[in-house]
Symmetry: C2
Subunit: 477 residues, 2 copies
Amino acid sequence: MTPQSEDFSAWYNEVVVQAQLVDRGPVRGTMVIRPYGFRMWELLQADLDRRIKDAGHDNACFPMLIPESYLKREAEHVEGFSPELAVVTHAGGKELEEPLIMRPTSETVIGEYMAKWIDSHRDLPLLLNQWANVVRWEMRPRMFLRTTEFLWQEGHTAHADEDDAMRETMWALDAYAAVARELAAIPVVAGEKTPGERFAGAVRTYTIEGMMRDGRALQAGTSHYLGTNFAKAFEIQYQDEAGKLTHAHTTSWGMSTRMIGGVIMTHGDDKGLVLPPRLAPYQVVVVPIGRKEQGEQAAAEARRLGAAIKATGVRVHVDDNRPQLSPGFKFNEWEMRGVPIRVELGKRDIEAGVATVVRRLPTVEGQGKEQIPLDKVPEMLPGMLADFQSFLLARAESFREDHTAAVDSWDAFAAQVATGWARAFHCGEGACEDEIKAETAATPRVIPADAPEETGACVKCGNPSAYGKRVIFGKAY
Amino acid sequence: MTPQSEDFSAWYNEVVVQAQLVDRGPVRGTMVIRPYGFRMWELLQADLDRRIKDAGHDNACFPMLIPESYLKREAEHVEGFSPELAVVTHAGGKELEEPLIMRPTSETVIGEYMAKWIDSHRDLPLLLNQWANVVRWEMRPRMFLRTTEFLWQEGHTAHADEDDAMRETMWALDAYAAVARELAAIPVVAGEKTPGERFAGAVRTYTIEGMMRDGRALQAGTSHYLGTNFAKAFEIQYQDEAGKLTHAHTTSWGMSTRMIGGVIMTHGDDKGLVLPPRLAPYQVVVVPIGRKEQGEQAAAEARRLGAAIKATGVRVHVDDNRPQLSPGFKFNEWEMRGVPIRVELGKRDIEAGVATVVRRLPTVEGQGKEQIPLDKVPEMLPGMLADFQSFLLARAESFREDHTAAVDSWDAFAAQVATGWARAFHCGEGACEDEIKAETAATPRVIPADAPEETGACVKCGNPSAYGKRVIFGKAY
């Protein structure tokens, strides 16, 4: 495998395929998510779906095909998405009267139905979510990160006023940050986007941004306050308590299979994937060692141990039916596929009543590999996995801090964004953002919600800073 | 609402919308599945997904867009699906070099990847499943039953030989029959389809068929043994233990949102839906009665009772924040929406320490409505719901038996299929099937797996019967 330091992008393209997460689809830019990759998505989905439902949202399912005329109703929206649309022109053996768009996102079709379902203030808030596939034609596709078709959830809500809609917008942002930190072990920075980076049709866009191991940023979830833009385009109105017809305030928010790409690029190394236990299809793999009779005995012991581990709620796989492969091959393979903990069981281990337990990364100096009494292994693993999860988050946080710096001169800025993130003052002007991007390829990623209040001179043009705090700039996926 | 007896089809179209299961989509033949309908699908999905995983299948995700050339590789397959295809001709602002098909089913694209992933007999069986949306352009759309886009799961598996593939085919059929009976309370008949009713490209097709309350049949799930047809078209080959390159035997099987339509038409009545508890979004609704202070007191008591009911694991909804609506309106509404059990709580109930518990249908003469001590209600509901579930299955089974008859003359056949199912001998000739269909609109639905061995003269042409048993004929959705 190409080392990360040599060509991070080549490393990524190789590891996603070799680890059996994904294959290239038959159509350029599409992907086949294989069982090992899809299980990660299912684990993330189960957790996020629970959070969404617990907060009072209902799942629904809107059609994939949207009449072209719907997209045109919100001017900024159609302008933003037009270059990326896939269009159905023929169906049922005939040319259609109106072309149909494969949804790039569903604000327009859901707006149409919100207008139908909402009459009175009693119908608000309306809190909907759907798990769906969407299509955006990508010029530079990358597996998980930018694919022509991807999976996501999209929340769409309608509220009586801005306050309630903003509470919702921030709820979604918090939920995404929690999922990223707690499941993906990605220490994301949450906050608002600058106007130039807003969603097409939004009044305010919020984001969570993670730092990948090449120093680039990955936008891993966004939440939008749409004001009354879509409510006006689709006539989403309600009678308030005084009987007055009023436009609703809407929000939308989405997290996608892109997050899997974030996990790979936040934790992976030259040996391959490193998976956080909470998203690992197999948290533990038990590998019996030995040939013929010894191998049979070790395999039987491995199955017994596997059953005991499974009983503790740990996702375990026993690698007991590939006698044609050497233990060394299997160790390398499970390391490459990012399994957090490997348990090796050989003749000497069994005779000594122990197993050799190996973490995918040494969490503390010298703690990579240890012998543990066989009967203690099942009870110890849940704690070891939790520690490994915390370790990955802390390690990623250190990495991010090591690659982030406050800069106040243009030279320092350009040097900083070459390998990481710059915390800098910015004037807030779109033209100035464009110049920064043209010269360094860096863009404003996020105005961090938790950054201290500060003002200064724009790092590029020297004009007074906007936003009341420093902005994080970096190159991005 | 139009009574079932007057116009079953109108009744269906009205109830699905009024009960808030679904709305017509913006494009003809598409549907918006609303939260109340989608929850039913989620409940079915959770159960079926568990069965699929427990039997060793892995979920994956294949692309929605399939190159036109893939579909053309299996001759019968493309011929069967051609009239129903939706075609993407433009994307990313340009005309595509090759038109792309929105998947009507995924045998072709999955076949391509099976060929890539399978090398040796050690890679078999390969057991895949995906939950996906598919598109088939429908000339006569009906919500849930025939929609241009629908949701389903599609299992796709590859095996070393016919025996193993047939075991898989029958496993899926059994799983579908169990889900239909245990969750949907639909007493389906399982068995093989006649050659004329096979899936395009299958060697053998198996089906579960339910009888709706208008006497028509609904095909509610199918499982196909595909032989080596797709393996040959996509070069799905493996090296057997002797090193010989051999074609795999494949299967596919699917169950869809059509099942929700089956639930509606199996159990519903002139008051609206009747939902089996295991698929009911709300198994119990608590309705407090009274105005102003009395209403407030009843609502507080209803919330307490609701919390106690929820603690037993029952899905309960407390209808406590619509003071503008009368109790009678709410009772009718929850009956129309098919909630299995309603709990009424008024001033007199509370003073007497009881609740009035009303089943959606009286399960035994006189047992529709009863007073139950408040503190006993939570513990009694799970049993009452289980009884209601069994009652619906038994009731549907009686209905089916009452509307099924063995017939041996053409006149009796024609009369029987006008209102139900005929068990008849058939010669097995496609031309004869076609004549039956032309004259009566009835088709052979299933050769029941559990029917006794019998032979006789074809009910239409008098030639000797095929299949060794009677075939069920009926009009179908």
